[in-house]
Symmetry: C2
Subunit: 439 residues, 2 copies
């Protein structure tokens, strides 16, 4: 469904993040109605799905009132893909035609408080950008051994912490923990203190949809697209010094379990389809993946990604990285299929992160670790005069993603933006959405 103007919502122009070509799902509330409910973003407005339940359930096969009136997207996510796809098509029809919808069905985007789109049952993070894995491998093992032997054979991943996936807007507190005493000799043990190497990771993540596969029955490549509900932008907050000391041999643990943050609007694969593009690798030939994970339509999506940092004394955010979702060697379908290969049941509402998305040029690296090359160079923050190696207290980090293409409406994700507070800061759950904020 390419872009068409919406007679009711003229602000939904072709170059708006939320053009009629997008129609992302989110969960919102308003001061006049604090109950979280499902909406679709359109221009400067949100279509409140609870305002037109009958219209939707009467015309979308398989859609129930519960799917549309729940306080999160889990119920809708749990339906067969034809239900969520059908709902999006119906919304498109309603907002682009003479539909019976009026402005009473919409609330202003300005006036909404966003909530986490779903209860996240399990959260997984991959490591699927070859450029990123090569950078990290080169730093720590040298260029000749940059990629581990398994890396080109499977999407390396690890389970993360679902409880600490927070929404755009939440504050984050610099973690404290165990840090290796002598950086060159782990045998000297550790000291306790605030992490000095605080980092972001520029990622995207997708929500799993569709009924869960039974234990022991993997998802096939043919089924994968119907099990992907939609994508968000994600910041996988990371503490490099905590990670360095703890991660052998079982992987990252306390270095990453304290926060992960996501943007609030979930963009469907159908909205992304016009932006399908070759990956930065182009093809997977050397080696060819094993059959269960071979993708006959191997590709990714052309999603421009950007990271900004604004220090406390800076007047505006400055861009530190521009990357693209194409910079993934393993795509979302391959990640999902591999995750289930041994029989893992994948449930609606599970969140699967891409891994840090880095490109080839230095200014497309997706983490401070790479941008400052392990602390060996200073990263200028635009024309502010400030520089960074790792993140400072008071820094606000923002990540955004957008798809643009001649003749197709814009499909934007919006942003995930969070501010860092000093170690020991107490947070309080506040506002209608319970987002954690420094007092």
């Amino acid at each position: 469904m390419p872009y068409v103007p919406s007679p009711l919502i003229p602000s939904a122009t072709a170059d708006h993040n939320f053009s009629t070509a997008n129609l992302p799902y989110g969960v919102f509330s308003t001061s006049s109605n604090p109950t979280p409910r499902i909406g679709v973003a359109l221009g400067d407005y949100v279509l409140d799905l609870t305002s037109c339940v009958d219209l939707l359930t009467q015309s979308v096969e398989g859609l129930t009132a519960e799917d549309v009136t729940s306080k999160d997207l889990n119920c809708l996510m749990g339906r067969e893909s034809k239900v969520w796809k059908g709902l999006r098509r119906k919304v498109f029809e309603l907002v682009t035609g003479e539909s019976g919808l009026t402005m009473d069905n919409f609330v202003s985007l300005d006036s909404v408080t966003m909530h986490l789109p779903a209860k996240i049952g399990d959260y997984t993070d991959f490591y699927s950008s070859r450029e990123h894995a090569t950078n990290v491998g080169t730093m720590f093992r040298g260029i000749d051994n940059a990629l581990q032997p398994n890396w080109l054979h499977l999407p390396v991943g690890y389970h993360g912490r679902a409880s600490s996936v927070y929404l755009d807007g939440c504050d984050v507190v610099r973690p404290q923990g165990q840090l290796q005493k002598n950086k060159d000799d782990p045998k000297e043990g550790s000291v306790f203190g605030p992490s000095k190497l605080l980092d972001f990771e520029l990622e995207m993540a997708f929500f799993v949809g569709g009924p869960a596969n039974p234990p022991g029955t993997p998802i096939t490549m043919a089924e994968a697209e119907d099990r992907i509900f939609g994508l968000v932008v994600m910041n996988d907050w990371s503490s490099r010094d905590v990670q360095k000391w703890e991660y052998v041999p079982l992987g990252p643990f306390c270095a990453k379990n304290w926060a992960t943050s996501i943007s609030p609007w979930v963009v469907s694969l159908e909205a992304l389809e016009p932006f399908r593009a070759p990956t930065s690798a182009g093809s997977q030939k050397d080696p060819e993946p094993l059959e269960y994970i071979r993708d006959p339509t191997y590709s990714s999506y052309d999603i421009a990604l950007e990271v900004t940092i604004q220090g406390e004394n800076m007047s505006k955010p400055e861009v530190v990285s521009k990357s693209n979702f194409k910079n993934l060697y393993w795509n979302v379908k391959q990640q999902l299929v591999h995750h289930s290969v041994t029989g893992c049941n994948m449930s609606p509402g599970d969140l699967l992160g891409s891994g840090t998305i880095s490109g080839t040029p230095q200014d497309s690296f997706g983490s401070m670790l790479e941008l400052c090359w392990k602390g060996t160079r200073e990263v200028p923050l635009g024309t502010s005069g400030e520089v960074r190696k790792f993140l400072k207290d008071g820094d606000t980090v923002s990540m955004s993603g957008v798809c643009k293409k001649e003749g197709v409406g814009c499909v934007g994700f919006g942003a995930v933006t969070n501010k860092i507070y000093p170690a020991g800061t107490k947070l309080k759950a506040g506002g209608a959405n319970g987002v954690w904020k420094a007092a």
Copy 2:
């Protein structure tokens, strides 16, 4: 509360798993009432807490009807520890005195179907038995480098998959996945096939209780006991060949995410208190743990653990391992505190596994990997004439735990028992509890 006979339930003798010294919580249903509800096991009966809600809420401070009438333990777990402890004391008083309870408040243990005790938000597994870590390290790196440099400084752990934590009785399907082609040279890549090195891991796990700590505010050692609701026996099913190929550098993923199984009754720390015992290490002096994780009452619990295997052609289960919960270097409090040190929010219903519990003698090793010493020796299955290295299709693996001590009533966990089916077997969710079974 030491053992006292129950006038109403004479089967709850001092040496019964469910003596009055135990009083574990579980979730059950019956054919006449298929609604899952909370019960306390006592002798050959289960006290149905929904049958005496008023009695309980009137006399236990802070206890609400919802805590007692929910379909899982999450609500009760989320209360301050004084509420769950108060409830257990009240139940003790009721079942050991002249209380107004009658047999109408009980159902026969024979007649109940058990359910998962809680919705598990996040599942984490540690690696806290020094004997186990030393065995594994010796096999793969030699005795001189058996423990990694960080191991004695922090409880090494990793996040696991919550969706695939199943209950006692579920069937498990041999996983398929990527296996290293040449075991001595990872550079030759991988092949697809059924895991040949299928293993159990003898573990225990605890459920987190109490209100969640806010993000950024770690749990202290002083607070830890009030955040531990109770323990179960756990089998962390593992595929050693999948693990070997995939786990560098981010840890175990598909090797372990396909199944973890737990026993149904949750035993409280108060019930375990009379069995408090020194750990197999005795003390933590070399090195002394950092202050945040130092335990002034450093100890564990004397829980005898046993693993049996019954092959399809065997007439009875045969013991392959006898271990003890004392064989943990890092105890449950230290695990919980370390998990939260960087600010991770720990939620009621989270499940934290101990790691494989191995002792020093060969017959106390907690996995086939150790028992067969990486495939170099055959493990006899009792007098059956059968031997194993790793697990075979058709094997039933059972793990149980029990505390016994002169003058104190028995505190038993019961068992977690599961049968292995061949790769590709389709499972169906069946019975009142939706446990997955081969057709």
